[in-house]
Amino acid sequence: MRYFLLLIGTLGMAAAMQAQDIDPVLTQVKARLDSIAGFEVTVQMEVDIRYVNMPVKTAELSYQQGNSVRIRSEDFVMIPKRGLDFGLGELYKYPFMTLNLGEVEFQGRPCELVKVIPTTDASDYSIATLWIDSQRRRIAKSQISTKKNGTFDINYAYKAPKDVLPEGITVNFQVADIRIPLRFLGREAQVDKGQLKADPGQKGAIRLLFSEYRISR
């Protein structure tokens, strides 16, 4: 019984410590996002990678709190692996601590610069930096360094000062170049994959433009 009480006490302390470790500005933003149970929105996607020529694509995006986003489109679409974490679910998936680096200006707005550092190896990102507009209680920019997929720079644009859901998101990333023989699909279809990977480091972006939010609270 004594050991059980000790365990409960330790877990309670750990939970309390974690709660204390999360910056209140981020907690405010999270609470605001949690007030949205789900939404559906039309999204236009514009891929900007030097070697990719893709027309602007339109898709229907749906989000339900606690679930990852779902995208429906009749066309082939490329969905960024980061940038669509509307409820900060991916950030909050595993325990973390935050470090507030104070106020900085971002795009003419005062923002709190908050570092999010996972406290477990299970997390798929090593560090995230958030520019949080504390007055408007929303994220203006984030930079997520993942363990496997490189670093994503994500900028958020909002239509109105009161909005918590963005009108536009730009995800910047690094992507490796490709080199494929001109007649890749002809009779010389055998291609050496090893030779095709070139030096990484090329920058790319995808711009997402949201319209017609149908929000459920």
């Binding site: 990719v52 027309p55 082939f76 679409v77 997929n149 992507v175 699909l185 002809g186």
Partner: protein, 276 residues
């Protein structure tokens, strides 16, 4: 002339080898479609490999438009080879059977006789291409469905289904001009060589050399643009993001000129030469 052409077409479609050619085209088409299905996923994975770290993909790229594009790539070598073998046979078989002499002993002019041969060769080629194009689109869309087309040409280009269809149709139209050129050349080779096996070998060699010269840098802009080997891949330009319509039209017209020259050469040699 009309009677000669009708007779020629009748003869072509009475010959067993014509149907061998049609079957060969169908077999080729089936092999391409099956291999496309087997290899398509791997090729697409290769295309998208460097994007998988950053993106997830939604939609099917292994669709009818990609399959049609793969069949279109048989315009590089397979289809022209079949056409050249069959078309040259229209005349070499007549030399071999000595029916040329029999026909020309009748009140038939040499010009009309050889003219009808060239016209029949063009009509037969057009028929074969129409058959290939219609069946390719039909089977590809029925079996693999519709979807975006991805092509690697100066980068990865994605075309939406309606755009892909339009570009593929134009590419087939442009490629057909190249096939007609090869058909005319093969008949001219038949006029020059008369013997079937020699004509097939030279026709295959012509095709090989042309394909090799396509990639050869002649060090002159004029030659690199308007020498006939450089005109045989015009259809590829339909898959650039911005289609260079003027260049395609110009190159197609120049290739048409080469075809006319090849035909005139064959006609002149045939008329000048003794029948026996």
């Amino acid at each position: 002339m009309r009677n000669l052409l009708s007779t020629e077409l009748f003869r072509i479609f009475r010959q067993r080898k014509t149907y061998y050619a049609i079957i060969a085209v169908f077999i080729l088409e089936a092999i391409i479609m099956i291999s496309a299905y087997m290899q398509g996923r791997e090729i697409l994975d290769l295309f998208l490999e460097n994007l998988t770290d950053t993106f997830e993909f939604n939609g099917n790229l292994l669709n009818g438009n990609l399959i049609v594009y793969l069949v279109l790539n048989s315009f590089w070598f397979h289809i022209p080879l079949i056409l050249m073998v069959v078309v040259s046979g229209f005349l070499t078989s007549e030399y071999q059977d000595r029916t040329v002499e029999a026909v020309l002993l009748q009140p038939v002019s040499k010009l009309k006789f050889i003219g009808a041969k060239y016209m029949a060769a063009l009509l037969f080629t057009a028929f074969m291409l129409a058959l290939l194009i219609v069946t390719t689109f039909l089977f590809a869309y029925l079996v693999f469905g519709d979807g975006d087309l991805v092509v690697y040409l100066e980068g990865l280009s994605f075309f939406e289904p309606h755009e892909a269809f339009s570009r593929l149709v134009w590419a087939f139209a442009s490629g057909s001009g190249t096939m007609l050129f090869y058909a005319v050349v093969s008949l001219t080779l038949a006029v020059l060589l008369r013997e079937a096996t020699a004509t097939w070998i030279v026709a295959a060699l012509f095709l090989l050399v042309t394909t090799l010269l396509l990639r050869f840098d002649f060090g002159s802009e004029g030659l690199n643009t308007y020498f006939f080997p450089k005109l045989t891949d015009t259809w590829q330009a339909l898959f650039y993001v911005e289609v260079p319509w003027d260049a395609i039209l110009t190159k197609s017209l120049v290739l048409l000129g080469y075809s006319a020259l090849a035909a005139l050469l064959g006609i002149a040699v045939f008329i000048k030469r003794d029948i026996t």
